[in-house]
């Protein structure tokens, strides 16, 4: 798959995913489009249930089929359409080989009864046909690269013998073992404490420079995304509401949801004991999404128009796209209240 080295590495277009649930059909992903360039870090933010993890896992076709009722749209990797790939093709050509995944909780994402050396070696044996010995030798290199001391000794450790941060480093070593072009990191630092978080993210930065790696970083942590990503997409109820260069999006959010999310962050400058701002209300049920803008019921800028018409992503001159009828740059806010006030 080394052809077509121009163009973006991953293009997701109009992705829809829906599940059968006891309450009806839950539309978890509703027309998500993403583009990840080579060597880029693309952040995917949103609250729980906004569809970010499902989007990430759909790219690798890791969604359980049993309750899946809809999965369409286009996923192009290196210009090649993945949605037509069979399970066998995905296994042999994509998973672990060109696209690898790092999971949220390294406590559960490593097999508790297998030595970590073997867990790192297995993908290489599978994809490159290396012998056990060759793969283990490479595993030592990988552990060195991800910053694990005494790597040769560590090969024989079981996951429970490592700290949380070390386990996540092992996960990253596994992900990198077959030299993928894209790493999908699904909340890679949520289960770790803050100092370890920073170390792991620094490691991602280093690896990305060394290997020209592209990363899809899924997180609900805005600060993390703002700091570490080139591009960002903000998701709400399975839709991208705002996307663009991370700096532009976070410095001057256009979508009211992005703005409110930012305002809800705890900041060190705040006086002690000031209440954190929240966004009132809750996201609509995924089984009965409104016809209009899904955020309208919670939005301070919404008017009756928003209830009826669903805004589409519209490109702005500064390279971002926003799905809102009344973005902050427009004067036509239903009620031009400064954001955040309504929250109190």
């Amino acid at each position: 798959m080394s052809q077509s080295n121009q163009g973006p590495l991953l293009e997701v277009e109009d992705l829809h995913v829906a599940f059968q649930t006891p309450a009806g059909i839950a539309e978890v992903v509703n027309g998500v489009s993403l583009t990840i360039g080579r060597g880029q870090v693309h952040g995917l933010v949103g609250e729980s249930g906004s569809g970010k993890s499902v989007t990430a896992r759909t790219v690798m076709d890791l969604i359980p089929r049993r309750t899946l009722v809809r999965r369409d749209g286009s996923i192009r990797f290196n210009g090649e359409e993945l949605t037509g790939y069979s399970e066998t093709q995905m296994r042999a050509k994509i998973r672990g080989r060109h696209v690898a995944m790092v999971f949220q909780d390294p406590m559960t994402a490593l097999n508790p009864v297998m030595r970590i050396g073997h867990q790192i070696a297995l993908p290489m044996r599978r994809h490159f046909g290396l012998s056990k010995k060759e793969a283990l030798a490479k595993a030592v290199d990988l552990l060195t690269q991800v910053g694990i001391p005494e790597p040769a000794k560590r090969l024989r450790s079981f996951p429970h013998e490592l700290s949380g941060g070390q386990r996540q480093r092992v996960m990253i070593a596994i992900a990198l073992s077959c030299d993928p072009e894209l790493v999908i990191a699904d909340e890679p630092t949520t289960a770790l404490d803050v100092t370890v978080q920073a170390q792991i993210l620094d490691l991602f930065d280093t690896l990305r420079e060394e290997r020209d790696l592209s990363i899809l970083l899924v997180s609900h942590d805005l600060s993390l995304i703002a700091e570490r990503c080139d591009e960002v997409s903000v998701m709400y109820t399975g839709r991208v509401v705002e996307t663009g260069p991370a700096e532009a999006v976070f410095e001057k959010p256009e979508h009211p949801y992005t703005r409110l999310l930012e305002d809800a962050r705890p900041l060190l400058e705040n006086e002690p004991h000031t209440l954190l701002k929240t966004i009132p209300g809750r996201p609509p049920q995924l089984t009965m999404l409104p016809t209009g803008c899904a955020f309208a019921s919670r939005c301070p800028r919404a008017d009756e128009h928003c209830e009826e018409e669903r805004p589409l992503l519209e490109s702005h001159p500064d390279g971002r796209a926003v799905a809102c009828l009344h973005p902050h740059s427009s004067a036509t806010g239903g009620a031009p209240v400064p954001t955040g006030e309504k929250a109190l």
């Binding site: 995944m101 406590m107 297995l122």
Partner: protein, 293 residues
Amino acid sequence: MSGLATTASAVVVPTVGSKRRSRRSGVLVTLSWVWLALLVIAILLRPLLGLPDPNRSDYASIMVSPFSPGHLLGTDEIGRDILSRSIVGARVSLTVGIGAIAVATVVGSILGIVAGYFGGWVNRIISAVIDVMLAFPALVALIALGVFLGPGLFTIIIGIGIVASPAVARVARAATLQFANREFVTAARGMGATHGRILRREVLPNVVVPVIAYSTVLIAVAIVAEAGLSFLGLGVPPPASSWGSMMGTGRSALSDAPHIVLIPAAFMFVTLLALNFLAEHIGKRFDIRESAL
């Protein structure tokens, strides 16, 4: 497990935790191993022990009580040495217990893991088969099998193995369901692993622990089942002895010479007790590993 302190230390260094098990259960576990080891040694070295032939009748001493000269544990109603016969019976019991449960563990694990991992219609079919097998009266199945295959050790092992396999399958299925949705299975899939590899390398090693703990209990059940069959005369054909057949034939002389029944019964009792202690011990070790995750 004596309490939180032991669990906590087990979480940090499991190997140390398993050594710090409370002393009393430690002694029982040791005694259990010692008893089973003694049985195995006696079975292997019986020809060297200078005991009388287990099938030869000593007409000079019929139904003598234990501690008689030449017959440490006495003789039965036709003068055969009870110690000697009990040791031969132990061989039958342990062979059947371990052999049948090995069959049950292999068959049951495969069924349970496949059902639990693939789910859907595979699960429905296998679960239905398991339910039918559990509902079928085991004794009838064993008698029928004895008719088809002819009586003998092999028949009993296969028969009890098949009858016990649905129970193992249930445990294996439950454990598989618990592990198949863990993130590490998805992670393995995400790295390009095939179903076969996931079953062998990711699911099986995790499922083996609870299955083995349960199978140890089943060994005791299989020994009882074999004794029951032999008691009914459906076990290993005479003159070969088994604890069950010894109790079965000695029953008529129970009031005159109770030791003929009580000695094989005591052998069986202590063996079952030892197996149960060991099963419990293995089960506890499994708990520790779970909490350490």
